[in-house]
Amino acid sequence: MDHSEASHLMATEKYLLDELSPAEMEAFEEHLFGCNECALDVRAGSLLLEHGKVELAKPAPRVVPPEVRPSRKVAWRWPSFAVPAVAILLVVVGYQNLVTLPAMKGALAENRMPKLLPAASLVSSVARGATPSVIKAQRGKQFFLPVDIQAQSAFESYVIELQNPAGGVEWSLSVSSESAKNTLPIRAPGVNEAGHYEVIVLGRNVQGQDSEIVRYPFELQFAGAANPEAK
């Protein structure tokens, strides 16, 4: 195998993907050991994959399920229960069009209107002995969490978690080091339980390991309702 054959065959990629036949692999290796260009190419590919595994192993901020194509082997056929199934489907579609969608449109319209979200400064609650900040929101409605991160060079990115009164993690949000330079205006999804919450800021290093940096405790109270006593 000479260089032009190797290039035409995409031999480097096939070699790294184990797609060469045994004979092709031997022929490519014989060429590879004597060709600087191909050797550099293969070594670069190997380095990419070696370091790529470390990067790809890091959790992604959002998980988007892959598009899964339905199997083409499934034959297109009408089962005997098709007619009643279609009827049920029509009822569901009708309900969605008459009830669900209008309600969603109303919510969407409401979201397009500017409004003040309940919030409080969290910084003051960090000091030892300080009373946790209080945020008065409506049950199930969004509220505002302004979070400051003291950026550190040891961390490549950050993760913000909201711990609920039961000690569980309500949600988790990934933040780049670039975004962390400014106060983060987090619009927190509404919750149904009032009580003691904590915003936990974690630093994530290059190896994907998390370290807790700071906790911002606050009391969430529902406006116009009886609230649990602050801890």
């Binding site: 184990d18 797609e19 692999m25 600087n36 990067e55 892959p66």
Partner: protein, 197 residues
């Protein structure tokens, strides 16, 4: 990832035991040998043993009077020695170290992590990160499924609605992008070092 021409001067330096030449030689061929052996041997320790044995035999030959005559065939020679080592591994023959080869073995430089290598590793990691960030989420997940999760490639391609050619081209583009970024960083580092010197 530099290249030194495998010319007569290089061969002379290598044969005479020049440390820097030896270090370059081992570093240059180690990864190629590891890749080759990794596709054929089962464990990392077997790969490492065979890699060491390959270099022992190459250096032994280099130090003989009749040694290697054609410097431009040096790469091909390393490959053929590696093939012989593999053949013997397959046959599971004993590999007693003959008298006189002990010196060669003890003189093989260890391509371990030096301070410069550590910087190069960091540059590589950063370049890989930047390369992957430029890819779409789908392409990143595709590479993750194939290379990190080591799933069957045909199954992964089916799941993502692509064919094997797409996967090859994706790897090609990512490799090209990484190589360009990495070499640029390494050239900047070398220029900075030269200025200081």
């Amino acid at each position: 990832m530099e290249f030194h021409a495998f010319d007569r001067h290089y061969l002379e330096q290598l044969s005479s035991g020049d440390f820097r030449t030896q270090e370059h030689f081992v570093t240059y061929f180690s990864e190629l040998i590891r890749l080759k052996l990794g596709k054929r041997l089962r464990s990392r320790s077997e790969v490492e043993d065979a890699r060491q044995e390959t270099f022992v035999r190459v250096f032994t030959k280099l130090r003989k009077e009749d040694g290697i005559r054609e410097p431009e065939r040096l790469g091909a020679f390393v490959n053929s020695v590696c093939n012989n080592v593999l053949l013997e591994y397959y046959r599971k023959t004993s590999q007693d170290t003959p008298a006189g080869e002990e010196d060669a073995e003890s003189n093989i430089p260890d391509p371990g992590i030096s301070a410069l290598d550590a910087i190069a590793q960091q540059q590589a990691q950063e370049s890989v990160r930047a390369t992957l960030e430029d890819l779409s989420e789908k392409d990143r997940r595709l590479l993750k499924a194939v290379f990190l999760e080591e799933r069957d490639k045909d199954e992964v391609c089916r799941d993502y609605g692509v064919d094997r050619e797409y996967l090859r081209v994706l790897l090609h583009r990512a490799k090209k992008s990484f190589k360009s970024m990495y070499l640029k960083k390494m050239n900047k580092k070398d220029q900075g070092r030269n200025k200081l010197e």
